[in-house]
């Protein structure tokens, strides 16, 4: 059987599984869990959050960025897990007690203002659309490889599949489908990692393997990796970073954003009790950590494997002939995501970091520039092929990558469409809209969001995980402070919250657009996106943390100089702080 057929088989089988579960769960649902009033067990809920959460960014893109950046990209690992600590302690239990279904609803009620709700809707849409752009970029890479087409075609196919998947709607809402998606994606992610860890170190646990001894060389994996890549002019993998400020702010933006992204917060409303909301956060992180503790091992081991593939006889010897290149390079060349140019016409693949300090050595070896480039988003998908694992593992990772991209994209599109149809159109412009009209508006907004995201995803403002990081920055600067102040301060009022959200959002978006292009349209940026141009060395990916501080500060100052919230609002804040009396979440 060809690899293409195996991939189709695995992807097809996983889709049948999701559809089957959706049908089965629907049949049993009327008395099983609808009666329980959203009573989903914290562990089940934790798994569902894991599926919702781990997107193309986590699955496809993140390890590739860590492989390229080493220590400096640990920010993704800490940011996307540490946010759960904030979520579980600062938001989830209280929002569960409040008992509404959407984030704009909470903000609208707490700040007793339809305008606040409107601003929250805008923030939600901007953050979620940005997030979907990242998903599109990642899903496009996955489809282009497994259907063996170029990357633009892959993106268009991804858009069509995501559209149908999301319009089927109900499927995504069913927790058990998400449990299945989680299982597919975690198995797909960890199995190749375990094989590779066993191959390289003999240790079956990747997270331990990456700190163990490399069997071939007798050196620790990371020492060996540092050696190999510095021989070729790259920075040390474990090297410390100079710009700690930017690193800290970036991690902070990811953490605040995690706690401010509506599609995750909504998940905490489906548990039965406030205490369950607390436990859910812990379980969610356990299931997420299974991938996040494995990702850095995948990153370092794949980087080492790529190097030993191209330099089979060591970095001092000549690299492989282009003719003898392994199959995975040939196949990824089809997508255009791996490129080779024989600059010195010797038929070999010289892969190195062509910096000034490396120039003398390159010249001595007759190298005329780096000849090999690969898109970082391919690393996880190519990983099993790089390590020569059997065909079924490759098929499995195809299914896993698509499960990750689809489940999150569908969740985000639902958040966008419900914000537009429910919070915006029904809540604001046309309260008398029929259910049918509301549903139609939801579908149309979903379609528009996909078209916009596909257009921008063709020339994404970064790799999948970086685009997603921008979405987190936007959520961090706009929604997170408003939610947190809504619970921890009785003094912040409607004007304060609205000015805070607008200031945080505007500040963050402007800073991002100056470097990434206005509305992310390529070529419209005012300054090149390079560290020399960044204010105080703060990258557009990190600015969300400053945006959040701006939001907090503006809200406090404005609230202090205007009237305090009415008595009943202060009582509302008081009541969300105590678990007693939390009923089931009310239907909207």
């Amino acid at each position: 059987m060809s690899q293409f057929a195996i991939n189709l088989l695995f992807v097809g089988a996983s889709f049948l599984l999701y559809i089957g579960i959706a049908i089965w769960a629907k049949a049993g649902s009327t008395k099983d869990f609808y009666v329980a009033g959203g009573g989903i067990h914290p562990i089940t809920n934790g798994v569902a959050i894991g599926a919702d959460w781990m997107s193309a960014a986590s699955f496809i893109s993140m390890a590739g960025l860590i492989a390229a950046g080493g220590y400096s990209n640990s920010t993704f690992l800490m940011g996307w897990t540490g946010g759960y600590v904030l979520l579980a302690m600062l938001l989830a239990p209280y929002l569960r007690k409040f008992g509404k279904f959407t984030v704009p609803e909470f903000i609208g009620d707490r700040y007793y203002s339809d305008n606040a709700r409107l601003v929250a809707v805008i923030c939600l849409i901007v953050a979620s659309v940005t997030y979907v752009i990242g998903q599109m970029a990642g899903a496009g890479v996955a489809f282009s490889r497994f259907l063996e087409v170029d990357s633009t075609m892959g993106l268009i196919i991804a858009a069509i599949v995501i559209f149908f998947y999301s319009v089927m709607g109900g499927m995504k809402g069913i927790t058990y489908t998400q449990v299945a998606q989680y299982c597919v994606l975690i198995v797909a992610y960890t199995i190749p990692a375990v094989f590779i860890s066993l191959n390289l170190t003999g240790n079956p646990i990747p997270g331990l393997g990456m700190f163990s001894t490399h069997t071939d060389s007798g050196l620790p994996i990371l020492t060996k990796l540092n050696q190999v890549i510095t021989d070729l002019g790259f920075n040390e993998y474990t090297a410390d970073v100079d710009n700690k400020l930017n690193m800290i702010l970036f991690t902070m933006a990811l953490m605040f954003g995690t706690a401010g992204l509506p599609h995750v917060i909504i998940r905490f409303f489906t548990v039965r009790k406030v205490t369950d909301a607390r436990w859910s956060g812990g379980w969610a992180l356990v299931f997420i950590a299974l991938l996040y503790l494995t990702a850095p091992a995948v990153a370092s081991m794949a980087r080492l494997n790529i190097m030993t593939t191209i330099y089979p006889d060591g970095t001092d010897a000549a690299p492989i002939m282009y003719e003898d290149r392994p199959n995975w390079i040939k196949e990824w060349e089809v997508t255009g995501l791996i490129q080779y140019e024989d600059k010195n016409n010797d038929g070999r693949i010289q892969y190195y970091n062509a910096t000034e300090s490396f120039a003398p050595e390159a010249e001595a070896r007759g190298w005329e520039g780096n000849e090999f480039t690969y898109n970082r988003d391919i690393l996880v998908l190519a990983n099993p092929e790089i390590a020569n694992l059997p065909g079924w593992v490759i098929g499995l990772i195809a299914a896993g990558g698509l499960a990750a991209a689809l489940s999150t994209a569908a969740g985000l599109l639902l958040a966008i469409s419900s914000a537009i149809s429910h919070d915006l159109i029904k809540g604001r412009f046309n309260p008398n809209i029929s259910d049918k009209g509301e549903l139609l508006a939801a579908r149309i907004s979903m379609a528009v969001a996909i078209v916009v995201a596909t257009y921008l995803g063709a020339n994404p403002p970064g790799f999948a995980a970086q685009v997603v990081a921008l979405a987190f920055g936007i959520a961090a600067a706009s929604l997170f402070p408003a939610l947190m102040m809504g619970i921890f301060s009785k003094r912040v009022n409607n004007v304060g919250a609205i000015s805070g959200m607008l200031a945080g959002l505007a500040f963050t978006l402007c800073y991002i657009f100056v470097y990434k292009g206005w509305l992310f349209i390529p070529g419209t940026n005012n300054l090149a996106d390079t560290p020399e141009n960044w204010v105080l060395g703060i990258s557009p990916l990190s600015i969300g943390a400053i945006g959040a501080i701006v939001n907090f500060a503006v809200a406090f100052v404005v609230a202090r100089s205007t009237a305090e919230p009415p008595k009943e609002i202060q009582e509302l804040v008081e009541s969300v702080r105590y678990p007693r009396g939390a009923g089931a979440a009310q239907d909207h």
Partner: protein
């Protein structure tokens, strides 16, 4: 809640104290050990690199899990103690 306003205040203070303590640890393992204090911990080697690197790629995540479960467990105890739990 009006009849128990004194207790309610104490309950909220206890919650804030617990959150504060947890967030200090949250900060120390990620922003501290993995970033700011990494140079200070450079002498402690872990599998071919240093302790700060381990915290950045493994240790902080493991600590976060423990923190959330600890918070949930302690908070449920405090709920009971102040009689504000749901059941």
């Amino acid at each position: 809640m009006s009849g128990h306003s004194y207790d309610a205040e104490k309950y909220w203070k206890a919650n804030l104290r617990l959150i504060g303590g947890s967030l200090v640890i949250w900060f120390l393992v990620s922003y501290g050990a993995a970033m700011l204090f990494r140079p200070l911990l450079a002498g402690i080697s872990v599998g071919g690199t240093d302790l700060g690197f381990w915290f950045a790629q493994q240790g902080s995540i493991l600590t976060f899990i423990v923190l959330i479960f600890f918070y949930a467990w302690r908070m449920n105890k405090i709920d009971e103690q102040f009689g504000v739990s749901e059941e």
